[in-house]
Each structure stands twice: as structure tokens, then as C-alpha cells.
């Protein structure tokens, strides 16, 4: 099923895109790890221009996080006040990110920059996931740790502009949530990812939020940031391909449902370990491509 993408200006196999995004959606439904940082490299590998891949990917993240946010709202597990602060940061960060993205595009360094970020984050997430799944497989030692450390004070308690967050039972400075939102927003705009893998640990370990509100609150931030990135990319770089978005959204949303349903029956920790290994190998391959002497020294960039 060949479909010509009107904005990316190339034909793709529609079934292949549906299958890939469905598979990634399945894996993220299964393991709880977001799909953005897997889908974007896959799209680049299929030959879709980086600008179109990153810009379009944001809309897929908006779809999956919207679905998650609605489910979490029904369970009343969203800290709206904290979510609002993270979201304000996210909107500022993504605005900065989109303008950084277009200036890197103009400077002809966007591919290097995206690759470098992916090497850093794929390496980091892969190692972290591998470590966590091994400790979980060996006997749930990790479970005992997080509630134990919750009472201790972090930098979030010492900074000025303190605010009360009744839903999370916190009295902390507004600066860390805002800064976290900005940082994740910049990454979301440049890399075409949601940023859940940075937000979740930061909210637990840095802000000391209770784990039951982390996922819902995070999804509020991810949804609004992804929506803003989509609109900004559509207005500034004009690289959002709505046909590609429809394929990615359909595959991702359907895949995530199946993943969540099968998740209970499958050994999720072992799957996480396998996924971690795949993520690490991808990161190492990207690093190798940047370090090894290239076969072709020249490249054509910046058709502006």
C-alpha cells in the first residue's frame, strides 16, 4: 500500500508504517516506556527527512498522551496545580526548542545534533532500564527504596517561591517544576519525543511526588507540550505531514491498547530487559556512526 506523503514529498509503504507504529505502541503499552524515542530513529531510517519526522512525531505523542490523560483523569490521579507548572515550563521550552530546531536546520547541523542527543539519551535510558529490570527480576529490591526516601528534603524544598500542592501533599519551590518543564519541552521539540523517561524519575526523585499521581500529571505536561510543538512546527517549519501523522497515530493508539491488555499476561520485566538491550545497541550504532571514519565525506544540506 504505497502512499505519497504530501509534506515529506516521498512515497512510503502505509502498511509498514502502521505495523511499525503499532509494534512500538504495543511495546510502550506493555512496558510503560514511551514510543517517541524509538519511532523517530525508525522514521529517519526509512528515509523520511529529519524535519518532517520530528515535527510529525509530536502529533503521535499528543494522541497517546491524550488517551492516557483521559484515563488518569477518571481515576483522579492528576495533580492539576503541579501539572500546570510543568506545562507552563513545557510551553516555554518547546517554543525555545522549535526555534533552536529551525536555526540548527539552517546551520546544517540538525542531523549531528539529533544523533548526539539520541546517543546520550538512548545510552542513559538503556542502562537505567537494564539495571532496573535486573534488580526487579532478581527479587524486587527496588520496590523497598522509593517510599523510604520520600520523606527526605531535596533542593526543591530549599529554593524560594514555595507553593503548596495538596494533591501531592507537597510544599516546595515552583522553580524545579518550571525548570523541569522547560528542559523536557526543549528536548520534545528537537528530538520528537515526549520526555516521559526524564519526567517520571525527576518527579519521583527530585520533586518527591507520590508515584500514584506521577503518571497522570506527567501526561498532562506531555500532552500540552506535544500539542504546542505540533502547532509550532506546523507554523514555523511547515513540516508536519498529516497523512504520516494519521498512520502513526492509528498504529500507535491501537498497538498501545493491545500492549496494555497483553501486559498482564507476559513477563514484563524480561521484556523490559530485551527492550533495554535493543535501545543500547541502537545508541551504540548511532555513536559508532559518528566516531568511525565515514565512507562518504561529503553531504548535501540546507535546501532553503
Amino acid at each position: 500500500m504505497s502512499i505519497y506523503l504530501p509534506i515529506a514529498e516521498m512515497p512510503v509503504n502505509g502498511l509498514l508504517i502502521l505495523l511499525l507504529s503499532g509494534l512500538v505502541g504495543f511495546v510502550s503499552g506493555l512496558t510503560g516506556v514511551g514510543g517517541g524515542f524509538i519511532i523517530t530513529p525508525l522514521l529517519l531510517f526509512l528515509g523520511i527527512p529529519p524535519a518532517a519526522a520530528v515535527a510529525t512525531q509530536a502529533s503521535q505523542i499528543a494522541a497517546t498522551s491524550a488517551s492516557g490523560l483521559m484515563a488518569q483523569t477518571r481515576r483522579a490521579s492528576v495533580d492539576w496545580r503541579m501539572g500546570l507548572l510543568l506545562t507552563i515550563g513545557g510551553v516555554i521550552g518547546s517554543t525555545l526548542g522549535v526555534s533552536l530546531f529551525s536555526s540548527l536546520l539552517a546551520a546544517g547541523q540538525i542531523d549531528i545534533f539529533i544523533n548526539l542527543l539520541f546517543v546520550v539519551f538512548l545510552g542513559g535510558i538503556g542502562s537505567l532500564m537494564l539495571y532496573e529490570s535486573f534488580t526487579a527480576i532478581r527479587g524486587g529490591a527496588a520496590q523497598a527504596r522509593s517510599p523510604l526516601t520520600r520523606a527526605s528534603r531535596t533542593i526543591a524544598h530549599r529554593l524560594p517561591f514555595l507553593m503548596r500542592f495538596p494533591r501531592s501533599g507537597l510544599y516546595i519551590s515552583v522553580i524545579p517544576p518550571l525548570a523541569l518543564g522547560v528542559g523536557v519541552g526543549v528536548l520534545a521539540a528537537i528530538m520528537g519525543i515526549g520526555g516521559a523517561f526524564i519526567l517520571a524519575p525527576a518527579m519521583i526523585y527530585l520533586l518527591r511526588m507520590p508515584t500514584n499521581v506521577v503518571v497522570g500529571t506527567m501526561q498532562l505536561q506531555v500532552f500540552v507540550t506535544a500539542a504546542v510543538v505540533t502547532i509550532l512546527q506546523a507554523s514555523i517549519t511547515q513540516k508536519v505531514d498529516i497523512l504520516l501523522a494519521a498512520l502513526l497515530i492509528t498504529g500507535g493508539v491501537v498497538g498501545a491498547q493491545f500492549g496494555a491488555r497483553f501486559g498482564a499476561r507476559l513477563p514484563a520485566e524480561q521484556l523490559r530487559a530485551v527492550l533495554a538491550v535493543i535501545v543500547l545497541i541502537t545508541g551504540m550504532k548511532l555513536l559508532w556512526d559518528m566516531v568511525a571514519p565515514p565512507d562518504e565525506l561529503y553531504l548535501i544540506t540546507g535546501v532553503l
Binding site: 516521498m10 547541523q109 549531528i112 565515514p294
Partner: protein, 292 residues
């Protein structure tokens, strides 16, 4: 259909009468004129960028079209959602009644401004070096002849007519210190060849009876959308005798066009629509999930 009619007519009528019939707007029979090609220092492609800029003769202004009757079967190519590229058929008649000379067909895509960069090592990583800018770089170029182009046309003509992807782009702006623009020019040609956007086919031109020639040139699906030109040249003794240019328009149609126009004219609304699509998909997934 057009080709069939053309072939029938060509086989029935004398060649010169045919020329008038298919190109009624053009001047009647004239002896083939020799095009003005600058007789300078006989440049080779390699040293081309250092040579001074010289006027590049445009086919339509340089030569009366009647000298070389040629046409394309499809002047408007519609890019729809199932577009997978297109085969353009270029056909015509060699006006030389003795059949002397060689026909060369060049299908050119819209011109672009490109930057060619050389990777360099920076803190152990290979990063993109400073750019060498070229204007008028063909986004697509296919050159078809019946025998190798270098046997047909001299270097000067190849350079002047831009029959090689390395020859067509014009150097624009300063070059980085220590960089030789001709290296970048060759790299442009090589990279375009690798990605299938520069095609040379020295056997692709078919010669039929009565000086008729025909060739099929493939525009791949990944070649850019825009105004193409199918330029036909007649060479004899390495020099250009006459030429003719036909326009081929590759444009989005139907849904593809609607979406593209929407994205370009109302970018903000388009972005909002994409987000609404995402919310609708997420909402329906959430509802479906709750039912189970």
C-alpha cells in the same frame, strides 16, 4: 495516443513536413544553425569552477525550434496519493535527412540552492564542516543518449549545457579557506547519482526509421515536485547543432494538493487540525479501553 499519432504521421509524411505539422508556431524550414558556444580555453569539468562565468545558452532562445521537432507524451504529471514516479516519453525526429549526428535528451528537475559540506573531525566526532553554496543546482537530472555522452559532445558543450550534475550548479558566495570548490562539485554529482537523482543512460535512446527517436525517462517518486524541462539536443562532431525544450509539470493533485495548500496557506489552522485529530484518536482509544 500522441506518440502513436506522431509515429503514424512520421512514417507517412516526409520529415520536414512533419516538423511544421507538429510545431505550427515555429519558423518553417531553415538550415540547421550552429549554436553560439564560447570557444574559450576548452575547459574540462574538473577545472570548471575556476573558469570565468560565461553565458549559458538557453535552448529556446539559442535555436529555432523547427530545427529539432520533439515533444513529450505527458506535459502534466499528477502527484496523487498512489504516486510512484512517472515514465516520461520524449520523442522527436532528427532533422538531418542523412541521419547524421547524435540526439541527447536531458530531463531536468526544478533548480535549487544547495549547500555541500565536507565532514570534519571535531572532539573525536565527525561533524558537518562549513558549506559551499551552489545555486541553480538541478534537483533531478537524467541524461539519455544512444552512445556515451563523451563520444557525442565535447567537454565544453557538456559544461555549457549542464549535461553533467557536476557542471550545472553555479558557485555562490565565498568558499571556506583551503576548500577546492571542484571537489564539492564532484561530491554533489556523486551524491546525486547515489540517491538516484542524477541518472546517465548512454544506451537509453532508441533510433527508429526516418530519423525518429524515442526514449523513456523515469522520474522517481522521491524526485521533487515542480517544473521540469525535457531538453533535446542534436550534436554533430562534438558540437551542438540545434536544441529544443519541452516543459513537464509535476504537481500535486487531489488530496495531496488540498493537504499541501492547507499546510502552506493556513499553517496555524493546519497545526490545530492535526492536534484535534490526535485528541480524537486518543479519546476514542480511551473510550474503547474503558468499555472492556
Amino acid at each position: 495516443m500522441r506518440l502513436a499519432a506522431f509515429l503514424c504521421a512520421a512514417l507517412a509524411a516526409p520529415t520536414l513536413a512533419l516538423a511544421q505539422q507538429t510545431t505550427p508556431e515555429s519558423a518553417p524550414v531553415e538550415p540547421p544553425t550552429i549554436l553560439e558556444v564560447p570557444q574559450a580555453d576548452a575547459p574540462v569539468i574538473r577545472s570548471a569552477p575556476r573558469a570565468p562565468r560565461r553565458p549559458r545558452p538557453r535552448a529556446e532562445e539559442a535555436s529555432p525550434a523547427a530545427n529539432l521537432p520533439a515533444a513529450v507524451t505527458e506535459e502534466d504529471i499528477a502527484v496523487t496519493s498512489d504516486y510512484r514516479g512517472f515514465n516520461v516519453t520524449v520523442f522527436g525526429v532528427n532533422p538531418d535527412r542523412l541521419g547524421r549526428g547524435d540526439i541527447v535528451v536531458a530531463l531536468r528537475g526544478p533548480k535549487q540552492t544547495v549547500s555541500v559540506r565536507r565532514k570534519m573531525r571535531f572532539l573525536g566526532l565527525w561533524v558537518n564542516g562549513p558549506p559551499v553554496r551552489f545555486t541553480e543546482a538541478p534537483s533531478f537530472l537524467a541524461v539519455v543518449s544512444a552512445r556515451p555522452l563523451r563520444d557525442v559532445a565535447n567537454n565544453q558543450a557538456i559544461w555549457a549545457l549542464g549535461l553533467d550534475a557536476a557542471a550545472a550548479p553555479r558557485l555562490d558566495g565565498p568558499t571556506p579557506p583551503g576548500a577546492d570548490p571542484s571537489d564539492y562539485r564532484r561530491a554533489f554529482s556523486r551524491l546525486r547519482r547515489q540517491s538516484g537523482l542524477f541518472v546517465e543512460n548512454p544506451r537509453g535512446l532508441q533510433k527508429l526509421e526516418s530519423g525518429l527517436f524515442v526514449t523513456h525517462v523515469r522520474i522517481p517518486a522521491y524526485a521533487p515536485i515542480g517544473q521540469y524541462a525535457a531538453d533535446v539536443y542534436l550534436f554533430r562532431g562534438g558540437r551542438l547543432i540545434s536544441s529544443r525544450s519541452n516543459r513537464v509539470l509535476v504537481s500535486r493533485q487531489g488530496v495531496e494538493r488540498t493537504i499541501h495548500d492547507f499546510a502552506v496557506r493556513l499553517p496555524l489552522v493546519y497545526g490545530l487540525a492535526t492536534v484535534l485529530l490526535a485528541i480524537a484518536a486518543g479519546w476514542s482509544a480511551s473510550v474503547l479501553l474503558r468499555r472492556r
